[in-house]
Amino acid sequence: MSRTRVAITGLGVKTPAGCDLATFWDTLLAGRSCAAPIGRIDPAALPVRFACEVTEFDPTTYFDSKETRRTDRVVQLAFGAAADALADAGELGADPARCGVVAAAGVGGLITQEEQEYNLFSRGPSRVSPMLVPMMMPNAGAALVGMKLGWTGPNFCIVTACAGGTNAIGEAGRLIREGSSDVVLAGGSEACVTPIAIAAFARMGALSNRNDEPELASRPFDVDRDGFVMGEGAGFVVLEEWDRAVARGAHIYGELAGYGRNSDAYHVTAPSPGGAGAADCMRLALHDAGLEPGDIGHINAHGTSTDLNDAAEAEAVVKVFGERTLPITSTKGSIGHLIAAAGAVEAVASMLAIRDGVIPPTVNHGATEPDLAVDVVAGEPRKLAVAPVVSNSFGFGGHNASLVLKPNSE
């Protein structure tokens, strides 16, 4: 018996590069940086005063005033992207009990949590909002998406730091393959452009310090990179059992063909030496897809613009694919690092790239660090023959996740 195939039939994004697919894709192809001085809060006291924020999103498009007040921004972004993906997928005609939600979040409602901790410390426990728990819990996004849609199938949250969005899509594909669900909305969201998050990541030395030139700060695989740029946003995809998608005449972007996930089991923040864990993860995804390295057309890298990640990921790519054999791009040059949303948004970018046969450039990539034997797409978009793509995400904790997406050739 042949394996159940998983179709991708809807895409939705709320990102610093745009809150609809066309704007998002145009921004990536134009190679534009979305980094700017932080606007949502006053960043004057922070060591890093810029980020990639979502400026075009209005939650009242998706929520009434009661829901808006009861949800953190991270949930509002999640539902916005999920609703857009669902609209993009068209009329599903699915049994709600066969519809699931898998949503990733890195920290959950940190904006709300910080406000309420301020209340706790400055005014006492009686001034802590009774809404804090349902607003801050990381699973609030998954819960709310299911609730708003009335979907009663599997519903859970993935928390694997920066790998979350990719894990969510991969695990959602498994739900369809194992027969638990016919349709799954899968993705991730993050909204932690907040004082504590910026201060904490800066204290680790993970963030770029280019306060005077924010638009040049995120420069994946570049010799002058000095850290990642905090981003926020959400991405969701609609996954659907292939035959039902065909039967209902759905527009099928492509296929979720392979998924790999493993653990470095090495260090809480540093990648394993030589990118060994990441290399194994990509091999697992290729094996799952039944493909060879030579079948892949390009890689959407995790490419955070940190010293350690980019070096380890480049080594991993060389291990699996050879030196400079395969073009790689990092979406983070444009939109920064969306933490748990990153993998989901990058899966959307990967899908659009293989739909159109064009790889967006890695923004700010001027000169590849000499030790990194990878072919980084930079400057202009690069045309490619329509072929499967590997999209990588690697999270603090040593969580690795890779997807293989195939274009729809049917």
Binding site: S65, K66, R69, S126, P130, M131
Partner: protein, 84 residues
């Protein structure tokens, strides 16, 4: 602060929290059955009143309260006790 003023603040908060027309927020109106509320709505309204009055309104003081008027009575009592 008298009961009418508290009722006025409660009405403002109920309109905001439950997105209902002002006219239906009477003293006899029940938060859940009449005002589109749920188990969390009353807590949200009390949170707003705490800020406006700058007084602690412990949740347990409102056990058994179901109408706007009953809530006003409890708040009047708490405010009076604090002033005493």
């Amino acid at each position: 602060m008298d009961r009418d003023q508290i009722l006025e603040l409660l009405t403002d908060a109920a309109v905001e929290v439950m997105d209902v027309d002002r006219e239906i927020v009477t003293a006899d109106a029940r938060f859940v059955e009449d005002l589109n509320g749920d188990s969390l709505s009353v807590l949200e309204i009390l949170e707003i009143l705490q800020e406006k009055l700058d007084v602690d309104l412990p949740t347990e003081s409102f056990d058994g309260v179901s109408t706007v008027g009953q809530a006003a009575d409890v708040i009047v009592k708490i405010v009076a006790e604090r002033a005493a």
